[in-house]
């Protein structure tokens, strides 16, 4: 209903919410996740999802509705837009939970970005954090390519880098969480990396500083991602329960499973690249 009464009611609600915020009377969990803050980001994320990147999501039915689970995806882009779009895809798929995502440590040394990431459910990428989150039965998104993934040059896009030392497999084995593979296509075109500025990166303590068609040319506007077309595909969960919890100690098994997951995601990435037909169409 849009009338003067409806407007007044909405205004009243907004003022009430703002007042509660100012009194510190709002929820926040032990990780610093702030549901009201995250909800406020939703319109922006919806815009990016529907209009900017025109995301198509498939396979959300593979993501567990409750209980611990590890979502493993390929990684690209400096800012965790891929995590935000995955979360939006899950919400659209009717999965009503607050996914948490592991973010490269150095992002937590940045002003503002660190706060925004944390309030939206990001935590520093430490195995201790991931373990605790899974033990609390959270849905945790990890990007095992890490800094190697985001620092890929344009020519290497969609070629998945080594999956670290397989730490995520160890976590899954130790906590009994299923691994849900996820392929993201489109994220690797939003900041095409043409070159690097290693001196600047060192100065800022960043893992790398890219040169893209818009950055550093346009300054802060270079942070605006290109409007590529995205596809997000979730695959069937990989249950590792059969390997037993002792397998977590066995390096060979861990690396083997990690490589298997990587190959699966790589296959899903190729399939979706074919389905997408053109990056900026």
């Amino acid at each position: 209903m849009i009338g003067p009464l409806g407007l007044l009611r909405d205004l009243g609600r907004a003022l009430d919410a703002a007042g509660r915020r100012l009194r510190g009377d709002y929820e926040e969990d032990e990780w610093g996740y702030d549901p009201t803050f995250a909800a406020a980001a939703e319109p922006l994320l919806s815009f990016l999802y529907d209009r900017w990147w025109r995301v198509t999501a498939t396979g959300t039915e593979h993501v567990p509705r409750d209980g611990r689970a590890l979502l493993v995806a390929n990684h690209a882009g400096v800012l965790p837009w891929d995590a935000a779009m995955m979360a939006t895809a899950l919400r659209r798929g009717g999965i009503v939970r607050d996914p948490r995502f592991l973010v490269l440590d150095w992002a937590f040394g940045l002003p503002w970005a660190s706060v925004a990431i944390r309030r939206n459910g990001g935590v520093p990428a430490s195995p201790y954090n991931a373990l605790r989150l899974l033990e609390q039965d959270h849905l945790v998104m990890v990007f095992p390519e890490g800094a190697k993934g985001v620092g890929k040059p344009w020519s290497e896009r969609y070629r998945l880098q080594r999956f670290g030392r397989g730490g995520f497999v160890e976590l899954a084995l130790r906590t009994g969480a299923p691994i849900v593979p996820c392929a993201i296509v489109g994220s690797e075109e939003i900041y095409p990396k043409l070159g690097e500025l290693p001196g600047v990166a060192k100065l800022l303590g960043a893992p790398y500083m890219p040169i893209t068609p818009t950055f550093p040319l346009l300054g802060p506007f270079g942070a605006i991602p290109l409007p590529s077309r995205w596809r997000i595909a979730f695959g069937p969960p990989i249950d590792l329960a059969g390997l037993g919890s002792g397998a977590a100690e066995d390096r060979a098994t861990v690396l083997e499973v990690a490589e298997d997951v990587r190959a699966r995601i790589q296959g899903m990435v190729y399939d979706n690249l074919i389905e997408r037909q053109g990056a900026f169409r």
Binding site: R21, L22, R23, G24, D25, Y26, E28, D29, E30, W31, G32, D34, D105, W106, F108, G109, L110, P111, W112, S114, V115, R118, V123, P124, S126, Y128, N129, R132
Partner: protein, 327 residues
């Protein structure tokens, strides 16, 4: 268990006196011997004997032999200057004091437990730190600040003592910052000042322990000495922004490179208290600790979560402000 004699260092400190009273009220404790260089603030309860002595001097041996305690509680660990504890003496008090005390403890045949009040500052405050430090992670922390090095060194002393005396159970309690209306630390003074300088663009997760829970945790360790380090904190964390809003205090955001000079200038004019490195780093990056060991092994459950502790302090500060306004 038969009633025990407990020796307590730092009995004249702000929390020491309350701890002594708490221990003396415990039927499992036969007698409390309190040691300090300072006179106790008021009359001590029955069953508490005060001995004036300096831990840093080698005069403890005879006193300890005479007292022959079953449990030694080393509570005289100081992070901030306070009356009778100057800034220059802190390192000596913490490290040399512990060294002398443990040396004297080595000669006590009846000693069963040593409880040391350590600090969660040992983990430091870093942006890339685990969100909740477990006790075994202290080794991986880089010791950056002076107090961090102090507690690191004193924990090594306690570990060495524990190895040489396997019959004595040695506990180190790693407390998160203690808050409470009767506590006088830089953090509490900051919460009482008109504005609180914060780092522009940062909003750390903080974790506190209410003063009565800090006392309760040490008392719990006396009754149930567990071996090794135990984190002590109220459940959960609260962001600095939310803490200040609940306290009704205004934040004064300062860009990181200007923080130290700006706070230094504010401290000279008396607007904010002087802050040491630990507090400054804590206000920028925060810290959380895992309290599984506290609940499972120490069998201690704090009465207040971190959020409740902040609310309890907020209520007291509001009442004080009202009383001031009325007067």
């Amino acid at each position: 268990m038969p009633p025990r004699r407990v020796l307590l260092t730092g009995v004249s400190g702000p929390l020491g006196a309350r701890l002594a009273a708490r221990l003396a009220a415990d039927p499992g404790v036969e007698h409390v011997i309190g040691i300090d260089t300072r006179r106790p603030p008021g009359a001590l309860a029955e069953r508490i004997t005060f001995v004036q002595a300096d831990l840093r001097r080698g005069e403890l041996g005879p006193i300890l032999k005479l007292a022959s305690p079953h449990v030694v509680v080393h509570h005289d660990i100081v992070q901030f200057p306070e009356p009778g504890r100057s800034a220059r003496s802190l390192h000596d008090l913490n490290v040399v004091g512990t060294l002398q005390l443990l040396a004297a403890c080595g000669e006590l045949p009846g000693l069963r437990a040593v409880v040391v009040r350590g600090s969660a500052s040992i983990y430091g405050s870093q942006p890339d730190a685990p969100a909740f430090f477990t006790e075994d992670l202290a080794r991986s922390a880089t010791l950056r600040t002076r107090f961090q090095r102090d507690v690191g060194e004193l924990e090594r002393l306690v570990e060495a003592f524990a190895r040489r005396h396997p019959a004595v159970a040695c506990t180190v309690l790693r407390l998160q910052p203690v808050i409470g209306a009767r506590v006088d630390t830089p953090i509490m003074r900051l919460f009482r000042s008109a504005v609180v300088p914060t780092f522009l663009g940062f909003d750390p997760r903080l974790q506190f322990v209410l003063d009565e829970d800090a006392v309760g945790a040490v008392a719990a360790a006396v009754g149930n000495p567990v071996r090794g380090a135990v984190n002590v904190a109220g459940e959960g964390t609260v962001s600095l922004a939310r803490t200040l809003r609940r306290l009704g205090k205004r934040a004064l955001p300062i860009a990181a490179p200007l923080y130290a000079p700006a706070v230094g200038a504010l401290a000279r004019t008396g607007v904010v208290p002087p802050l040491n490195d630990d507090v400054v780093r804590y206000l920028r990056h925060g810290r959380g600790v895992d309290t599984t060991r506290m609940r499972r092994d120490l069998r201690f459950a704090p009465t207040h979560t971190t959020a409740q502790a902040i609310d309890a302090v907020a209520a007291k500060i509001r009442a004080e402000d009202h009383a001031e306004a009325a007067a």
